[in-house]
């Protein structure tokens, strides 16, 4: 049990502390391809560090939900990092808390609380973005659930760790259902993390979707929301890497857990490279075309499910 706790600690701290780095690297490389020297790879840490020291401005009619909602969502993200194989390849302490589907429901819980917390500001700009996010939510949530199930059905269990091990077998890996689920989940990841062609981190308020959820926050709650965003990108990205794209190489044991952090770094460089190409060669879709993007992801995931049983 002590071993499992240490492994859990490495997995969770490895997630919380390393997640911003990947965003930093991705932004740096994106800047370099855009002809610039660009910011330090450690920029996300600098931003978080500064925000944690700043004052928190709260809209006059907002309640505690506005201030403490981000703390709760951060807590849920940390809980999810116990549950899914994002560093260590075997179940760790507290892993059985929820299964894959439960994990998907926890992601929904986060977005529910995040939306309420942001809307508590009563800002029209937040409402504008939330109304968009809400209208795509049905496809996004459905895809997340079906993708998780696509592999669950091929293995007969909804335990993410078993699925990871199952997919590492080449014949399972190359099966059509696995490949479809892989593509589908990647498309979903682009949407969930606000990457092109779905969203761009621009300055225009008129195009905001995800950015609107942090539009009114400041200081510590903002830091936690941003940090939570990095963790979310890391969690979903790592699931994609460990369960779908590259289910190989995880080492066990306490020392192995340290090795796994390095391994994840290597895997992430591959993901970052793919995203870099996508982010620098694509433009942002028209608003109502985003549903097409998600609909394709959803249909692929449903096909993946069908192929896995027939």
């Amino acid at each position: 049990m002590i071993d499992q706790m240490v492994e859990a600690l490495i997995q969770v701290l490895g997630t919380i502390l390393v997640a911003p780095l990947y965003s930093g690297i991705a932004e740096k490389l994106k800047g370099v391809v855009s002809l610039r020297r660009a910011q330090s790879v450690l920029q996300p840490y600098y931003d978080l560090f500064k925000l944690l020291k700043k004052e928190t401005v709260v809209p006059s009619s907002a309640s505690e939900l506005f201030v403490y909602g981000p703390y709760f969502t951060f807590g849920v993200y940390v809980l999810i990092s116990f549950v899914i194989p994002v560093v260590y390849p075997r179940p760790v302490f507290l892993t059985p808390t929820v299964d894959f589907l439960g994990g998907a429901l926890l992601f929904s819980l986060v977005s529910f609380v995040k939306v309420l917390s942001a809307m508590d500001s009563k800002s029209n700009y937040v409402a504008l973005g939330v109304s968009r996010a809400a209208s795509f939510g049905f496809l996004a949530e459905a895809t997340l659930i079906t993708v998780f199930f696509a592999v669950a059905i091929s293995t007969g269990t909804n335990n993410p760790y078993v699925e990871s091990a199952y997919a590492s077998n080449p014949s399972h890996y190359l099966a059509l259902d696995h490949l479809l689920a892989t593509v589908s989940f990647f498309m979903l990841w682009l949407f969930e993390t606000g990457k092109l062609p779905v969203e761009s981190q621009g300055l225009s308020e008129m195009g905001m979707i995800d950015d609107s959820l942090t539009y009114e926050h400041s200081g510590k709650p903002l830091a936690l929301l941003k940090w939570g965003g990095y963790i979310k990108a890391y969690l979903l990205g790592s699931v994609w890497l460990n369960v779908f794209l590259l289910p190989w190489g995880g080492q066990v044991g306490v020392l192995g857990a340290f090795f796994d952090i390095g391994l994840m770094f290597a895997k992430w460089m591959i993901l970052i490279a793919i995203v870099l190409v996508a982010e620098t060669s694509l433009a942002k879709l028209r608003l109502f075309k985003i549903q097409d993007h998600l609909a394709i992801a959803f249909v692929l995931s449903v096909f993946s499910l069908l192929f896995s049983v027939i």
């Binding site: 302490f93 507290l94 819980l109 209208s135 496809l139 269990t157 449903v302």
Partner: protein, 578 residues
Amino acid sequence: MVALIVALLMLGLSPVAALINRRSGYIACSAGSAVFVYYGMTNYSNELSLFYVAAGLVWLFTSVYSLYYDHHRWLGPLYTSSILGMAIALTTNNLLVFLAGYEIMTIPAYVTIGLYKKTDYSAFVFMGFGELSTILILAGFLYSYVVTGSLSFSPLTTITPFMIAAFGFMVKMGILPFMVTEWLPIAHGNAPSNVSAILSASMTLVAVYGLTKMALLTPRPDLFGFILLGVGGFSVFFGAFYAYVSDHAKVLLGFSTVENNGAILTSIGVYLTAPTHTLASFSLITIAVYVLAHSLAKTGLFLDTGMMENESLILPRILKNRLSDVGGVLLASSMSGLLPTLGGVATWALLESLFMEAYTLHSALSIIPIVTGSIIAMGEGFATSTMLKFIIFAHIFNKRSSNEKTRPLILLLLGLLILAGGSATYIFYRPFLAGNPALGLPFGLIASEFSSQAFGAISPLYVLILPSLIGALVIAVFGKPRIRRSEVWNSGAPLNEAYTSFAYSNNIRLMLGKLLLTHIGRDGVKVVDVFWSLTHTVAKLFVSFSRHFSRTYMNSRLSWYVIYMILALIVFTVVVVA
């Protein structure tokens, strides 16, 4: 058994008491409901007992709420007699008594809607569908009598009685394409909120109860279940979808009931078609848990609308109160199917059972649960957006402050009940409990199983505790934020007009214009509910027929005719009961 008699006696007395004094009627009804809950808990035999608990809790909360809400002299007697009818239907084992209870439950609802009516056809539509439901159920029961030769609920060898009755119950549940029975009377009849809660939360519960009870007596597995499964799935999607584009608070909730009943129907479908007994018993528990989750949350949300001055979410004026805010958010999160609430466990269990079924079937038939599961997953996405819409525009935007304590407290209690209820599901899922001491969970796991091996597992208790604990830890590490108040940032201008609920869901109207037949004209956006327009045509025909009939044969005012018909039905039922 003593408890049941006491409960029924008190519920039976309450309409009489209400005639004399409304408050005493509600008090009697509350007390009866409390005893009814006690009866359900102490005599827990199978999943059907959970229906007693759910129904009793709905009546209890609504009756206590009505003490602070009612403002019409006929409302009390009608409301309490409807509850009496439900209690009879739920507790009897006799087919005819069930039907009598069913009618006693429904008829006061006609009258209430008739009293509050704003349009003619709403009462007629409700009555029309209500009687259609009764006729189908009666037919199913008669067939059952023919098969078994017994007037009590008894095991069947054929599925036909169940099939016929199922359609009757589905009409009552507002399942696609009968969605109109669910929201129309509430909206157009503009029923008071406590009656809405009864109509939407516990009347459909009785229908689900009847359906489940019949299913339990029917041979299993049967392919008919796949039809229920699929129809349920589409009801989930369309219910949630139309709820999302509704801006009338009660219509939204009515559609949400359609969605939840669809999920329950799907679960019944899984029960009927499950290839293994383990899966069947898992889905049976899921039906009951879903019913409990839906009844409590829906009751709470309808009672919430009772605190609105204007039932349109576009311009709601709701009493602002911290207690009801918290309660509302908790109820909405359960309706959104979010862990760790009761609704979250139910949603998880339903999806899990669908996918387990697809896995165990492992044939072309798997397509049905897979497609249904995917459609329900989409519906759940809409449900989350819908509930966010409700809670945002009822509780966050546009509100007035109030000092009222009691009604918000009821809402808060319901919210807390539903939050804690998620962890209480351990009691119901007793055969599926598990633990993993090596990984820090010595107990508290609900494992979904289709054979001896676990498919997946969740621990609502841990989900309830851990995030808040981690959040508190974060506060301990980084400190509490330094807070300064300032007005909302609206790009440098004062915020004059707030975002409306209509605008919130307008993206979908534009995006899914083909499905909604969106029309943008000079006066704004219009969407057409395809099922409604169909039913509307039928309803109009029905209304004109009834008018013609009443003018020709009654030569009197329409409302007299309605009252006459109701009285006749009451006499009929009393005779049957006797």
